[in-house]
Symmetry: C2
Subunit: 479 residues, 2 copies
């Protein structure tokens, strides 16, 4: 494709995206397709002739878009807000269009240095001290794995430079709450610790936050048995209920054992941008690493995960390689982000964050986050004051965990009722929320925070929820 | 940013990218900036007022672009071709613009199923049997780590479900050639094997390909000592010289020990698209996993790495998580790519590969690869027939390893000469090549294959090289 062909097709696609974003509210939230339906809309073999952009646009309209669950839809309340602000879409376009190659500083000094700049801006906006250095990872899953690898190597005095974890006589142990995200046990297992060496520490039954006394007891028991407490992963805004594990207390205990503290604030980290919410993060300066995703609530397009470390030298020692074909005269004077993570080749991700901050502006982003917090509190108040309804956990942020508990329904029957009214709404396409387990029973998570979600959408959701629960209760009522 | 603001700014940026791509030949290849220069062009703190798109474009022009090493430049012969075809740029724009969230099938059925479709197309185009299933990873570094985690868990009978690698009595050992990419030892170390359990197996002194008899001897010695051969990583088109480790012979040996065979064809894999080159990959059906990067020579914009497995069930068992908040009624009927790699959140990467294949077309991609092979052979012929010049390794693909060896220069003096003429060209910005070590001495790698590189560019490079070497030889000649 020549630059002039790109110009023509690019204008068409920019307009197509603008039209799509304008019309998003007319679409179902949950994709209304059955398994295999999208695949069946494509030929089974590779294309044998050139397509036109118009043909691809038609295929996008008729086959692809109906198969996309619309997380940019104002009635999307599922999983977490996965905003992709249009300003960041443009920054990402520039990144891909430049076609920069991020392998070393020399291969793209701007890619490296703009990333340093925006990470520094973000550190300041989050109210973190200059002791932290940042890098953009793809996701919090990867960031957690990076943190566990750093913890493993610190606790084992760089076993990777010997026999690895193989043959270590005193097993390294990792601690997290049972409310931690699924990426946490995944990272622990991939890093080679083994499931036997992952402790799920008890949480407070009301706040669902990790109980520091339980952490202390677990670490003491392991140490007494000859095992080595290596890492604590704290959930700051856990996935299920946005609980905040108590950072300061846990850091103090972890430090007694020299254990690494990783703060997983994937969704909630955006709240650090709000001075009035910053107290929720008290103690975070004592952690060893932090990850949070601007690609969630804040709204920089996926993938953009901030990873902050207090000890870049340690990170570099864990990750570095220095083959002859990547050396240059600038080595030693510059940041080599290849040694700050798993991948060698990196995209110019800083551009989408830069565009987002410059074109949307920090003030507007903060105002939107505050709007979402207000909407969540309003919604929680409605639910709490409605007979038969419960808010199941504190609401420190924008996620409200609810259940409809009609008289006489409990146990599996209650689960059936919850899933019935949830499915009634989700399958209709009118709105989407996630079901999740809490204390062994299904509940519904209402995660507020899509860029386009205003109060009227939350009000409509609450009407929809009461109607659906009422219908479902009628259907499941004892005969 | 509203859709209408996006429309207006998007048109400006599409034109800006088209203009940039048109004018790329007028720019220096290697960025002519010193460390810190780009960073100094940005304010130290976050923006306090809204910027306009025009202001960001001015900043791109004056600060960012001068700091980008132009790997899309026709005189870029460094590292590897890192093509970002404009067709794939548009596909990526659509991906970001849709703002799809790839965490489960339900969160974006189209993201999952279009990825299945294009991976199946790519499998067919590469002449691989239907026994392979594909997934798009970000980079070959990640793909290699995924392969090593699969190998570790197969060889240890899922130690991650027990104590991990900790306390395993019989260490697992990995084998690779000393010519392997730096991501190989990195993956082995991150997976916890330890450097003591990575064997660098001898290569043939002429072809630089792994010597199967040395592999057999190393595995036998480890097995006799009570260690367990767990994995062999074969470089197919190694970074230094594009050597091809002998797949069929190595697979046979590995299978005797039940060791995993991972084929790292990051750059060279594109040659599988050419039937006449396919013999270089003979035996590949016996491997356990393959990775290669359409984001290199083939030209789908970074990041797009194909990972192929013969045993998706094993991959899923290593990687899977199934928390309540990600369950849906479709589970069991659909592919959950979150369980095919490290990340939970995934971009809609299939779109850029789909656009690339549809708008550029397989025939044109193949013709371009053949052009590059011809250009590399022509260049190698010129060097080989010029007195004082040597081609240091076979040229099976598009990379030519050369050295100028004037009479009387050897050892460190020869290294100094090589680096002097290389630096003279690179620092001028007129062209860029990578220096690399071979047999302990510096050489220059000429990696042909940028989308815009025609014969005339290779001819110009050869003139430039002879001139630079002549000047450097004059400066370094004994007095």
């Amino acid at each position: 494709m020549t630059p002039d062909e790109f110009r023509e097709a690019g204008h068409l696609l920019i307009d197509w995206i603008a039209d799509f974003r304008t019309s998003i509210e007319e679409r179902p939230v949950l994709a209304q397709v059955v398994p295999g339906e999208v695949r069946a809309g494509f030929p089974s073999g590779p294309p044998e002739r050139l397509a036109t952009v118009d043909e691809l646009i038609a295929q996008l309209d008729t086959v692809v878009l109906p198969g996309v669950t619309q997380v940019q839809h104002p009635m999307h309340f599922g999983w977490f807000p996965a905003n992709a602000s249009l300003a960041s879409v443009l920054g990402d376009l520039v990144s891909t269009g430049i076609g920069s190659l991020g392998i070393t500083w020399q291969s793209s000094p701007a890619l490296t240095e703009v990333e340093e700049v925006v990470c520094e801006w973000m550190r300041e906006l989050c109210g973190l001290s200059p002791a932290w250095r940042g890098v953009i990872q793809d996701t919090a899953s990867t960031a957690c794995l990076v943190a566990m690898l750093c913890a493993r190597e610190r606790a084992s005095d760089f076993s990777q430079n010997r026999g690895g974890l193989q043959g270590e006589e005193h097993p390294l142990v990792v601690y997290a709450s049972p409310q931690c995200h699924s990426s946490v046990p995944k990272a622990v297992l991939l890093a080679g610790f083994g499931i036997d060496n992952l402790r799920h520490v008890d949480v407070d039954p009301v706040t669902y936050a990790l109980d520091p006394s339980a952490l202390r007891a677990a670490m003491a028991a392991d140490a007494a048995a000859g095992r080595r407490p290596a890492a604590v992963i704290l959930g700051i805004g856990t996935t299920g209920t946005t609980a905040f594990d108590p950072i300061a207390a846990c850091v103090e205990i972890a430090q007694e054992y020299g254990a690494w503290v990783h703060v997983d604030a994937a969704m909630a980290g955006a709240a650090m941008l709000l001075p009035e919410m910053r107290h929720l993060f008290d103690g975070i300066e004592g952690a060893d690493s932090i990850s949070w995703n601007p690609h969630k609530w804040m709204g920089t397009a996926l993938d953009c995960s901030m990873y902050l470390t207090r000890d870049p030298e340690h990170l570099i020692r864990v990750m570095s390689t220095n083959p002859s074909y990547l050396r240059s005269a600038a080595d030693g004077q510059v940041t080599q982000y290849k040694d700050w993570g798993i991948q060698l080749g990196r995209r110019f991700r800083a551009l989408k964050l830069w565009f987002h901050l410059e074109l949307d502006g920090v003030d507007a982003i903060r105002a939107r986050l505050r709007r979402d917090l207000d909407n969540a509190r309003w919604f929680a108040d409605q639910v709490a004051s409605e007979p038969g309804w419960r808010v199941l956990a504190p609401v420190p942020l924008q996620t409200v965990c609810i259940r409809h508990e009609p008289p006489g329904l409990d146990g599996d029957a209650l689960d059936g009722h919850t899933l019935a009214w949830l499915d009634r709404i989700n399958s209709s396409g009118a709105a989407f929320m996630s079901g999740s387990m809490l204390d062994g029973r299904w509940m519904v998570r209402v995660s507020v925070g899509v860029e386009s979600t205003e109060r009227r959408h939350v009000e409509a959701l609450w009407r929809m929820i009461r109607d659906a629960a009422s219908v479902a209760a009628g259907e499941t009522a004892p005969a």
